[in-house]
Amino acid sequence: MTPKERINGYQLVYHRPDTLTDNPTHYCPGCSHGVVHRVMMEVVKEMGIQDRTVGVAPVGCAVFAYNYMNVDMQEAAHGRATAVATGIKRVLPDRYVFTYQGDGDLAAIGTSETIHTVNRGENILIVFINNGVYGMTGGQMAPTTLLGMKTTTSPMGRDVVTMGHPLDITPLIAQLPGALFVTRHSVHTPAAVRKLKKALRLAFEYQPLNKGTCFVEVVSNCPSGWKMTPREANAWMEKNMFTAYPPGDVKLPPPGLN
């Protein structure tokens, strides 16, 4: 875009990068997914790597990511995104490969693939959307659902005795030697979005160094699953989700890496 671009006399200062399609998304109003898509595709655009990027989106609300991200993509079975990404990356080691997974996908049905992919240090980027529920199937309990949180399958609130503890998988991932860069973000304020974008840029830039897996968690909202307005959802997220899943870097690459 040139800064001079004008529409009906107005100067265009913000528009869709061509790494995003112009399909309207199916996401609920106020949902984090759309923002994360946009930020990721801005990074792909700014780095000029659209022709070398392959994405994997598994089952979950973002299974249709390929309708919006204008890069080559494979849809994966529930939980198997990092295995699919491993297959792609192993045969195309010079491509930028990423997965985009929900908490149910990454931390319940796909836990084994998640841990082993990072443990092998596959040179891919894992984007982890932690919204504390199963969005796509209608708001059931997820591994990351907080204690006391009501979902359709924890109608009285999640209790430890019968449902176990919320699973904070990110620090576990950071312990694996194959993990290069592990960081936790959100997209509920413009400042948070800018921070996430910086982290995603770094994560993509690290990939050709072949030093291990980059893991970017985005603590997200799910207004529909949480039965809140977008504004309430963001406030609730800050108050409750951030306590259990505090944003910040969890593991940084060794100094001098680039």
Partner: protein
Amino acid sequence: MSPVQRTTTLMKGNEALAEAALRSDMDAYFGYPITPQSEILEYLIIHGPKRGSVVLQAESEVAAINMVYGAAGAGARVMISSSSPGISLMQEGLSYIASAQIPCLVVNVQRGGPGLGTIQPAQGDYFQATKGGGHGDYRLIVLAPSSVQEMADFVPEGFRLAEKYRNPVMILSDGALGQMMESVQLPEQGSLPKSIPAWATRGKPENRERNIITSLFIDPERMEQVNIELQKKYAAVQSEARAELDRTKDAEIVLVAFGLAARICQKVVDIARERGKSVGLFRPITLYPFPTDILSRTADHAEHFLVVEMNAGQMVEDVRLAVNGRRSVDFTGRMGGIIPTPEEILQKIESLTVSTTDQALQGMP
């Protein structure tokens, strides 16, 4: 025939298959240890990487088949192998691969089941292999080797069929064929041409639309169209049906058997002929597509069919469909990893001939 004689080597079935894969320019192999096929992974991990093939031991068969989906979706020539319980774990992945129409080669070196079962050879996975196996209306193309030579030959052939039809192909073998040593002529290196498919996800250049590999077609109209496309493909695949006919022309009783069971039946035919009985052998080489027409033509002249399997009677259903009530079809088999002996089968033949004589006598005034 090439004027240059290919060298003959003595090899285990599993190793011949693995070497044939490398000679077929396989780009990647994903596996997980399970008896009786671990030699495939062990052979490839030694010889694959230095000959340009990715070889990876996955954390499970579930992960392995999804690695296949990723790598084959990126346009690579990919093989995976396992034995019965591991193949069960792959069924969801195979359904996705079949729906997304991605070529790959799957090897099942069967063992006895159900459950954890036994490590001895069996043919109990015929239904799973030929009727779909996972969810939804899809088929694998299934090849049934009955020698170490065919373990090797069916690798390039499997890749060729997979790539031609954009469909997963399965080599349905068993523990005995995987473990036995026989002399084998291996395929020439580079004899199978390779090209990068236009649909592969390798990064979107500016001048083409993005490539999407998916099995998600949420709109039922579209999903039905995809199903119709698949069914058209399976109809076209029927032309690939193959069978080997051994002394069936003048045979009164035709044995029908595949894989290892067919090897035993060859011996049975030899002995029966020595004893003056006109017995022949019909060996399906493709289990899907099942050689229905060829078998139906055999039923024009053969009086009786005896299906011999190392299971409780699975292929016999396809034989009955092909014969379509025109002739009697009997079954004999052993299960759970027991290989039937020629003598057992001969006894069954004997009982058939006795009962038909009885019938003939009953018809007398």
